[in-house]
Amino acid sequence: MSSNELEILMVDDSPEDVELMLRALRKHNFANRVHVAEDGEEALKYLLSVCQGAGDPLKVVFLDLKLPKVSGIEVLRSIRSNPLTRHLPVVIVTSSQEEPDLKECYRLGANSYVVKPVEFDTFSKAISDLGFYWLILNKPPLQVEVK
């Protein structure tokens, strides 16, 4: 738990949602392990820099779908089409519970799909559970593909 590496890439254009998610992650002291990208383009740029060895290896991407410039679906598609990021866990964290979005995300290889609850306690719990699961419980392959 002492690591200060940036292990979560959070892609979300709502500063309010980001703040609430960081607040939830603080419960497990994960908040300082998050890099925030506010649109799809920024996310792809950051991923590229990680691939080139500039950033810490990522453990998971929390990806919103409705984003300015490059949508979440497009970000997911490009993560999966790059051999360096193909196995990077991607969790869709979005407000949309429309069936076409769900289908498309799973088709493109999302690892999980979580609908952001409106109610604060449920939302906080969902996000801190996600942080705990992907940073602590989940075991990635030793050979980190991203770097």
Partner: protein
């Protein structure tokens, strides 16, 4: 206190966003109304364009190739500019639903989240009255979240196609009831039912009917010393009439016409929570199956909901306009 100001600002901003979205909602509704009016005008002008001899060949050929069920929808408007317009209206509706589910929910989460965060982080510095205001904000945002969810479910159901199969109503009622009873296991409710006949209908829709009717009965009987719910069915000519009876709060029959209208409620939110969508949804489903629904009640003496479904499902469903 600086943070408090920031959070108050965030709340204000979220409120503005919701206002904007509500304006958009009204605009989209107005556009849809125009399109519906256009469609009505068109139907009045060309009452049977499908069989019309002057319609070109391609239309009739397409009609022949269509499966029976879809005959009414697409080909009738083939080659007419209206077809494009209708499709555009449909697309707009889809986009609109998406927007509602996403865009309305996001600021709502912010309102709910920051009022909770205010309470958690600064609750000690706030007057009891200020805390009460915050609780009101929070409660309202949760209520609006339920309204949005129900609205979406309602519009989705309205557009959904019926997919018929054999429904074992007896088993369905049993399992639905167990599900409801489990959610509220502290309460004691005397549940009884007679053996129910099977029927041909859309299973997931029928499940929704039972879920809504039974959970309504459970909700409105929660102030009874001993709550009783009874389900039965009777075969009358070519119909099966199902009924759900409870001994709960009931309602005033003078307002019975409002019972199935969406977002109409006959009870105060203070007494019984809800959005007023459940029964509207049930009515839509029953009508989609060519059936009828009605209720009988007396205030404080319980209510009985009846719905009749045709035993022969070849009957055409009652047409219901989309939301």
């Amino acid at each position: 206190m600086r943070e408090l100001e920031i959070q108050a600002l965030a709340l204000l901003e979220a409120r503005q966003q919701i206002k904007d979205l509500i304006c958009e909602l009204a605009e989209a509704k107005a556009r849809l109304a125009t399109q519906e009016a256009l469609l009505c005008a068109h139907q009045a002008r060309y009452p049977s364009s499908q069989e019309n001899a002057e319609n070109n060949e391609s239309t009739s050929r397409i009609s022949k190739e269509q499966p029976e069920g879809s005959k009414r929808s697409a080909p009738a408007y083939q080659n007419l500019p209206l077809a494009a317009e209708l499709e555009a209206a449909n697309k707009e509706l889809e986009a609109f639903c998406y927007s509602v589910s996403h865009d309305l929910r996001a600021p709502l989460r912010s309102i709910n989240g920051f009022s909770k965060a205010l309470m958690e982080d600064f609750g000690n510095n706030l007057e009891p009255e200020a805390l009460r205001y915050l609780k009101n904000i929070e409660r309202s945002s949760v209520q609006m979240g339920m309204l949005i969810d129900d609205l979406l479910q309602f519009s989705r159901m309205s557009r959904m196609q019926r997919c018929d199969a054999v429904c074992d109503m007896d088993a369905m009622v049993q399992s639905t009831w167990l599900e409801i009873a489990e959610q509220d296991s502290q309460r004691k409710i005397v549940f009884s039912k007679m053996r129910l006949p099977g029927i041909t209908a859309d299973r997931s829709m029928m499940r929704q009917v039972w879920l809504n009717l039974l959970s309504n009965s459970a909700k409105f009987s929660r102030n009874c010393v001993v709550a009783r719910i009874h389900v039965e069915a009777e075969i009358l000519n070519d119909e099966v009439v199902f009924s759900v009876e409870d001994n709960g709060a009931g309602f005033d029959m003078r307002y019975a016409d409002k019972l199935f209208a969406p977002f109409q409620r006959l009870h105060k939110a203070r007494d019984f929570e809800g959005t007023g969508v459940g029964l509207a949804l049930v009515q839509r489903i029953v009508r989609k199956h060519g059936g009828r629904i009605w209720a009988a009640s007396k205030v404080n003496e319980g209510a009985t909901f009846f719905f009749a479904l045709p035993r022969n499902t070849g009957k055409k469903p009652t047409e219901e306009p989309g939301l």
